[in-house]
Symmetry: C2
Subunit: 341 residues, 2 copies
Amino acid sequence: MNLKQLSQMLGLSQTTVSRALNGYPEVNRETRERVLKAVQETGYRPNKAAQRLATGKAGSIGLVMPTAPGNPTDLHFGEFLTGLGEEALRHDFHFVVTPADPNDEVGALKRLAVSGNVDALFVNYMRGHDPRLDMLKSLSMPFLVHGRSIGSEPDYPFLDIDNEAAFYDATKLLLQLGHRRFALLNGPMYLDFAIRRKNGVDAALAERGLALDEACVSHTAMTDEQGLLIMERILQLDKRPTAILCSSTVLALGAVRAINQAKLKLGEDISLIAHDDVLTLLKPENFTVPLTTTRSSLRAAGVRIAERLIAGIKHTETFPEQELWKTELIVRASTGVAPAE
Amino acid sequence: MNLKQLSQMLGLSQTTVSRALNGYPEVNRETRERVLKAVQETGYRPNKAAQRLATGKAGSIGLVMPTAPGNPTDLHFGEFLTGLGEEALRHDFHFVVTPADPNDEVGALKRLAVSGNVDALFVNYMRGHDPRLDMLKSLSMPFLVHGRSIGSEPDYPFLDIDNEAAFYDATKLLLQLGHRRFALLNGPMYLDFAIRRKNGVDAALAERGLALDEACVSHTAMTDEQGLLIMERILQLDKRPTAILCSSTVLALGAVRAINQAKLKLGEDISLIAHDDVLTLLKPENFTVPLTTTRSSLRAAGVRIAERLIAGIKHTETFPEQELWKTELIVRASTGVAPAE
DNA sequence: TCATTTTCTCAAAGCGCTTTGGCTACCCAC
DNA sequence: GTGGGTAGCCAAAGCGCTTTGAGAAAATGA
């Protein structure tokens, strides 16, 4: 069933039927009702590809899903997607998800953009001096960045959390509790958020004339396995740190396991603060010793980003183009006074 | 840059350029190379919507993502999506993901199908007597079901794991270890896999003249919170079960927490077997007491399903239309001899 | 009453691609 | 030298929709 058939059935022109469906004013009320009724009965749905071709709009948001054989599933991605979906649902939007090798994200994004089946693009996993930014700016298509790109002119629309402040505050808290030796379990070094978080830690330590020991800083994928491995290594250091900062509760999961295995008491022998993306599965309060965290909901970010992208497509974007969310520092039992030397 | 411009630039007709690009034989080798070079230089990409309209094919797989405000993110969905993506990447396919309220999956699926921007459909979270099946069969579009639908004629293409056998075997093992009182922490009752798993347990118990106590069977969302709650309740029963079966390691995560809190020893005071979807984050071997599991990789299923769907679209499907994967029963430390009465 | 506006409808063009069917050379064989 | 075959190219139709520009009918104003 297509427009032609439907209009023949009704004895109307395609024009009129199309207008009736799209809410144009120049259609008689009776006629419109007749059309709507016929649509109900026949179950007619306009062909999206044709609509897209004719209008240039398709009600869809494009995004690249980094994936490679063997790579672990990213919990954070799923949580974020849930947020996007929640909002897209309200507007009858859908996503076009292009899987891409993490090393070819710029290529994948370009293909997606020129393919002509998305109205807007979204990018995340931002890197320092991210090459995708120039490409996005050259396109005449709305886009939104989750995160930022240190080293690039901040003249693009983004939503980010204040990673530097989050880790500055967390470090400050630990300093106040008397800790002097710190470790940082961070995400991959090339990612923007990892850079900023480290900057936050560095800044807070510098104020006290302290610095991170290189042996106590790691930049890895954010899996619990990595957390375990690195923490095991760190715990074997001569002068082991008493304060641990983790870039994700997923890393913390492994780190805590290592701490337990070493028979150390979390919150007494060793303190830990993790960044909490509010992952459904991994609640910091559900750890045997509830974790102190810096918190910011990834899912909420997804909702907000979908909201802004859709507004951008409909040209109703009135929100500020750049948002920086503060994180909350929530103190639970994994932080305590530094043990005596 | 579109076909018309490109062909004018080359002094060729659109036909010839199109043919050159799509590998048709009736194009001179020289001409083809000239075209390919021009494509390189101009960065021309065919408009997908137009291609779709002209050919009816779009290189995309449609799927519905169940989501509702407040609903927890489903870890299993993400893991599966990773698998789909991994395979789609190899064939330059993408997904069109429509978020939908879990109560309107059939409607969402229909919209997706008639929208004309997917070549094939995929459905999961199958229910008993699933209403989507009739709809799918009436469509002339390839589709594939992950799971099955008990109560419906099995005349549709599917990939499923042998849930009944998995839980039959697991129960059998526990029986052999001397257990007599069982509990089952299952997924939602209306879902096919939950029904079959319960059937498996029932069958194994029946062989010994035993049966599940209704108070020891739960049907809930598969979150760790639910696992905790239910396990806490079960542990307070007068004659508490000594053997626990869990439909997911996520449920087991909560259940184990309850067991620990009750100061019971897993594998001694109480035994537990969980189904392991091989979630990246939740490895059964990483539990404090490694879990005995029935294992089948959700991600591998994703890869396989993408493979079959794409083959179906390209009309090269030669695989069996219906696949039933066996699960592995892997014994670790969470199962032990039943405690003396 | 006629001119003018308003209301409703339509035919046709166009979005960017693929594909059908036809056309022109050119070659070969008899 | 004619007929048939093949290689290589093209014009035009068509996919299903939206939108432009225009026209007929009805309503309005003087």
